[in-house]
């Protein structure tokens, strides 16, 4: 083709990115010694390797050391050895290391990008302009956090040795999201990249060597499920950070139950992309390109469900199809490629299978008329219309370039459809009406909401999910907390409740018989089973009887808590006043509560009085903090504000301890309420009468019905029911170790956020048993990106 032909054709033609440097790098490495442990390059102890190949051709790139449990042991040992010195280093020292990593990555930016595209198949435009610059930004941003640790996180210290498992869709970026905050917090790291994409992590390890990262601080091991399991189960690791599928996330949650390991999970999604009729439709179409056709749709927060208002649906769909026909599918190393191959043949098969099944279930699947390259795992961008909410394409994460489209009639329905999913990672809202956008954003169950944008990321802004998209945040201030632990005043080991002989002798013969009930939906109700549990005084006499709550009572209580909209939707000032009023009313009956405490626990009258006073003080504290534990405004390097909103977790189950039965209960319930959660409380099994006395106070304190529900009964049983209830969003358990472990293990139905004392109680009387640590458990941080400019 001569130049005149080209002049008439006006085609782009190929624009290949040079790969010679990357090929030279590949040729110059011994990938059989790819485990970076304690600063040395090691072969896998089992001598095994796995293949990593090029998605655009299927060709083998390298045979990489395949770590087994012995290698993981060695890596954890190296990390453990390096920990004391690293944790004790100054923030400035760690900041210098993070800065050096960031700058060294910058100097090898192009090599990282080319390697990433070769190994993963993502278009070079993306690795060059998005993945690698964001990864670098993450390290440089977190250098600052290392130095700001004492200032911004007083009372916190690094969690210790962390195990990190990352996926193949953003190999280097996910590595950065994991390693940067860990190093800033003074943790040492054992990181396992995905088998499909080990290469940039190996280059990163070389950067660590050159950037002066102390030996053993960063350990990078390669391997498959065996290596992953060895990390998850390793006793020498204090925290697991995982990004990947919800399926594996649940396995990890279960495996770490009772281990005391801190856990953050960033899992799958089925994110809604909502287009209102007053949106800039052309821009919304570009948003979809950046949303679902970014990285071939292999993005956990991909806007895979297009929800479009009925009146503009036809116009938008027509625009989407036109735009899709301009997407260029081709070699990842061509600068003109919009869509590269999927990462692996298995992934391609999965996507094809889901599309076929979606079509069988009635979706109309449309693809542009474009040729696919002869080799490689390519899939055409696909638009599915006529998708019902029940269709597999609306329900399941496809992790491919497939957009499922549904229409809605009004704002309410848009929100309902958007939230009609087990996931809750991200959402996009398109409207030129900021009133509408900011009305909708808080109502979406998603950790990230982009207004008139999509897939915007920054190191200063938190990222992470609601619901089964996982928990914990990455990036920003909220992300740092995942690698820090706060000092809490530990209390006694909690022993399992023993069912002792029922006391029979009445302790006080004069008063009129009182029937303590359960408190559900603002009403005193008898337990569904109509059995009672005798409550003993400290001296073993019968203090009274409470209802023996069962799973049905928990069910009713959770329903009541879910139905209560008045509390989460109340203003913080309003909640504050109700909590003050509760304190006021408790104060009015302080003497009576002190007598009850004394009688039940054997505390001296003075100590009992002290616990009541402290309980009132704590209610006062959280009443006051209700409108002060606020979100932040992040400032990403873009013309946008990112509102890090503090939203209530939702329905929170609280299993309260026996020690300090009033103060312990209030120390847990009050912060949950202050942040707008509704609560199902299981009070101390031994001393439940304090809680049943308390509901009388609640009844005349203007607390909306359902905001607090109290179910008395057997702690272990009720905790288990709460753990298995999939409409409970959070569960705080201060009970014996076995109950705590079980609650964590059984939380996987909906991945509710479990906070357990791991068999230890707290010293509730301590000032440290109150404050931000508790409030943070009571909220989800939602990052709402609001770009602006007119």
């Amino acid at each position: 083709m001569n130049i005149l032909d080209r002049y008439h054709a006006m085609e782009y033609g190929p624009a290949p990115e040079a790969r010679n440097e990357a090929d030279a790098w590949l040729a110059g490495r011994d990938f059989g010694k790819a485990l970076f442990i304690g600063g040395d390059w090691k072969a896998a102890s089992g001598g095994k390797t796995f293949d990593t190949s090029e998605p655009s051709s299927g060709k083998l790139l390298a045979k990489v050391s395949d770590a087994n449990a012995v290698d993981i042991d060695a890596a954890v040992a190296a990390a453990t050895k390096a920990l004391p010195k690293w944790a004790a280093s100054t923030g400035y020292q760690r900041a210098k290391v993070l800065y050096a990593i960031g700058r060294a990555m910058q100097r090898h930016q192009r090599l990282f990008a080319v390697l990433e595209s070769i190994d993963n198949g993502k278009p070079i435009r993306e690795s060059r302009d998005i993945d690698v610059p964001l990864a670098i930004r993450h390290f440089i941003h977190h250098a600052g956090w290392a130095q700001a640790l004492d200032r911004d996180f007083p009372g916190h210290k690094g969690v210790g040795v962390v195990g990190q498992i990352i996926p193949w869709n953003f190999p280097l970026l996910m590595l950065a999201w994991k390693i940067a905050p860990a190093l800033a917090a003074g943790c040492t790291v054992v990181l396992k990249p995905a088998e499909f994409t080990p290469l940039t992590a190996i280059l990163f390890a070389e950067i660590c060597e050159r950037a002066g990262v102390p030996k053993g601080v960063v350990n990078i091991v390669h391997g498959g499920p065996e290596a992953g399991a060895a990390i998850v189960n390793h006793a020498g690791i204090q925290k697991i950070a995982f990004t990947g599928s919800s399926e594996v996330g649940k396995i990890i949650r279960k495996a770490t139950a009772g281990s005391g390991k801190k856990l953050s999970l960033e899992l799958g999604g089925k994110s809604a992309f909502i287009v209102f009729e007053d949106a800039d439709l052309d821009s919304a179409v570009e948003g979809l390109v950046d949303g679902i056709w970014f990285n071939q749709g292999q993005v956990c927060c991909a806007g895979s469900r297009l929800l479009v208002q009925e009146g503009i649906a036809d116009a938008l769909i027509a625009k989407v199809k036109t735009r899709m026909s301009r997407l260029r599918v081709g070699s990842p190393l061509d600068k003109n490629t919009d869509i590269g191959p999927l990462v692996d043949a298995t992934q391609l098969d999965r996507v094809k299978g889901l599309v076929a099944e979606g079509a069988r279930q009635g979706a109309v699947c449309w693809q542009p008329d474009a040729a696919l390259p002869a080799s490689g795992y390519y899939h055409l961008p696909t638009l599915a219309t006529g998708v019902s909410p029940a269709n597999i394409l609306a329900q399941e994460e496809v992790f491919g370039p497939v957009l499922a489209t549904m229409t809605f009639r009004n704002t309410e329905e848009a929100i309902e459809l958007a939230n009609n999913t087990r996931y809750g990672l991200a959402a996009s809202v398109w409207s030129e009406n900021v009133n509408l956008a900011l009305h909708v954003a808080p109502q979406l169950k998603a950790g990230v909401v982009w207004v008139n944008g999509t897939n915007m990321f920054d190191a200063a802004c938190g990222f992470g999910g609601y619901r089964e998209s996982g928990f914990g945040r990455e990036g920003g201030r909220e992300g740092m907390f995942e690698y820090l632990t706060a000092k809490l005043p530990l209390g006694a080991v909690i022993k399992p409740a023993v069912v002792s002989a029922q006391p029979v002798e009445q302790s006080d013969g004069d008063s009129i018989d009182r029937t303590a009930k359960l408190f559900i939906g603002g009403k005193q109700v008898r337990p569904d089973g109509n059995y009672s549990l005798a409550v003993a005084t400290a001296k073993g006499k019968l203090a009274g009887e409470v209802g023996l709550g069962s799973r049905k009572d928990i069910r009713d209580a959770v329903s009541a808590a879910r139905a209560c909209k008045a509390w989460p939707e109340a203003t913080a000032y309003n909640r504050s006043q109700v909590l003050y009023y509760l304190a006021e009313n408790l104060s009015g009956r302080a003497g009576e509560f002190a007598v009850r405490l004394s009688e039940l626990t054997g505390a001296t009258p003075k100590a009992a009085r002290e616990e009541v006073e402290q309980s009132i003080e704590r209610l006062f504290l959280y009443a006051g903090l209700a409108d002060k534990f606020e979100g932040r405004v992040h400032q990403p390097p873009a013309r946008a504000v990112t509102l890090a909103l503090h939203e209530p977790v939702g329905v929170v189950g609280i299993v309260a301890p026996d020690n300090s039965p009033l103060l312990g209960l209030i120390s847990l319930v009050a912060p949950a309420l202050a942040m707008g959660n509704t609560v199902v409380a299981v009070p101390s099994e031994r001393h439940p009468l304090l809680a049943t006395d308390l509901y009388q106070v609640i009844e005349y304190s203007d607390v909306p019905a359902g905001a607090i529900n109290i179910v008395t009964g057997r702690t272990a049983e009720l905790a288990g029911v709460l753990a298995k209830h999939d409409d409970v969003d959070g569960l705080w358990v201060f009970a014996d170790a076995e109950t705590c472990a079980k609650a964590e293990a059984e939380s996987i139905g909906n991945l509710k956020r479990v906070w357990s004392g791991n068999g230890r109680s707290l010293d509730w009387a301590s000032d440290e048993a109150a404050g931000d640590v508790f409030l943070r458990r009571a909220i989800e941080v939602k990052n709402v990106w609001v770009p602006y400019g007119d």
């Binding site: 130049i3 005149l4 002049y7 006006m10 570009e286 542009p368 400019g789």
Partner: protein, 348 residues
């Protein structure tokens, strides 16, 4: 002089044209573009296009120029295309007839012989589509380019501000047409946009179109003055409804010249108008486009947002003065591998 408003009789006479081609498949371009007859001022249609999200447009153009890369022979071909879509312009207060003759000579013969031969393009005439001058030089230019097929464009209507009485501005158009200009670049009074005086703006442009007769009408919005992309979008729609053949960004005299976000808003306006009426409207970014690289960005914008038909001089023009020299240097580099210098290429 005629300033009849043609709302009623032209609103429905639209001829649907074939849908645009996908970016990857070239189709033969019909050079005989059906001329936009305009339509009645439709405020409801304007309302439907007023949502223009600046930050989203900025993100789009930022990634657009990174998503496409044109290399080697294709790059040479695309740069030749930029020349073919050029209004070679001189709009200076010190212009003279001799200066204009020089500009025309450059337009007629833009490339050094060795470059033409090296690129193998001797078999085809590739040169700027038009020269663009002030009214006093129209006759000179017409004379200089006679027989070449190069159009002569005149900037009229009290360029660059548009603030003379309408009658004066219309007379200026008629005078330029009389002198032989077959393209008229008019400016709008920006105040009409700020005041949302859409009907007044519409009526003025309708009059200008009438004054043009067979000469093609390019409407300059002065986007650097319009403050918002929404204003750019709305002013574009009014201009097209009033019968503009082209919409054009800038005079080159505003403090902000043609920018890609503004261009994106305008080409989307063109697309909306096409989808509504079936007429293809041309686009002319002008001012500040002086590098070969920048010209490629604009060509990519046209191809991606509007498609292949908008890469022809009938539908796309650069208003430029120094761009040609930079393109010549790039073409020389393409042939020789040597970076070139301005003085190696004939000046305009």
């Amino acid at each position: 002089m005629s300033s009849t408003i043609r709302e009623a009789d032209l609103g429905t006479k639209v001829t649907p044209l074939p849908a645009r081609a996908a970016a990857n498949t070239p189709v033969p371009v019909d050079h005989r573009i059906a001329r936009n007859p305009g339509m009645k001022l439709d405020l409801g249609f304007m309302e439907s296009v007023r949502s223009v999200n600046r930050s989203a447009l900025e993100r789009r153009v930022a990634s657009l120029t990174k998503r496409r890369s044109i290399k080697a022979d294709n790059q040479a071909a695309w740069l030749l295309r930029a020349v073919a879509c050029m209004d070679l312009t001189t709009l200076n207060s010190n212009d003279t007839e001799e200066r204009v003759r020089r500009l025309c000579a450059k337009a007629i013969n833009p490339f050094r012989r060795d470059i033409v031969e090296g690129l193998g393009i001797a078999g085809e005439t590739i040169r700027p589509a038009a020269v663009c001058v002030y009214h006093p030089f129209v006759a000179t230019a017409v004379d200089a380019v006679r027989g070449t097929g190069i159009h002569v464009a005149a900037v009229s209507t009290a360029f660059p501000h548009g603030l003379a009485p309408l009658s004066t501005r219309l007379q200026e158009i008629e005078a330029s047409v009389r002198d032989g200009a077959d393209e008229i670049d008019v400016v709008i009074p920006r105040g009409l946009v700020f005041g949302a005086k859409w009907r007044e703006l519409y009526n003025e442009i309708v009059s200008m179109r009438a004054a043009c007769g067979d000469a093609h009408l390019k409407v300059i919005l002065g986007t650097g003055d319009l403050a918002t992309l929404r204003n750019v979008m709305l002013a574009s729609m009014v201009a097209m409804m009033a019968g503009a053949d082209f919409i054009k960004t800038s005079t080159g005299k505003e403090s902000v010249n043609a920018t890609l976000p503004v261009g994106l808003a305008m080409v989307r306006a063109i697309r909306a108008y096409f989808e509504e009426t079936g007429y293809l409207i041309g686009f002319k970014p002008a001012g500040g486009i002086s590098t070969a690289k920048a010209s490629l960005d604009w060509l990519v914008l046209m191809k991606e947002e509007l498609g292949r038909p908008w890469l022809e001089p009938e539908l796309f023009r650069f208003g430029a003065s120094s761009l040609l020299t930079d393109i010549e240097r790039q073409l020389e580099h393409h042939l020789t591998g040597h970076y070139s210098a301005n003085h190696r290429h004939a000046m305009a």
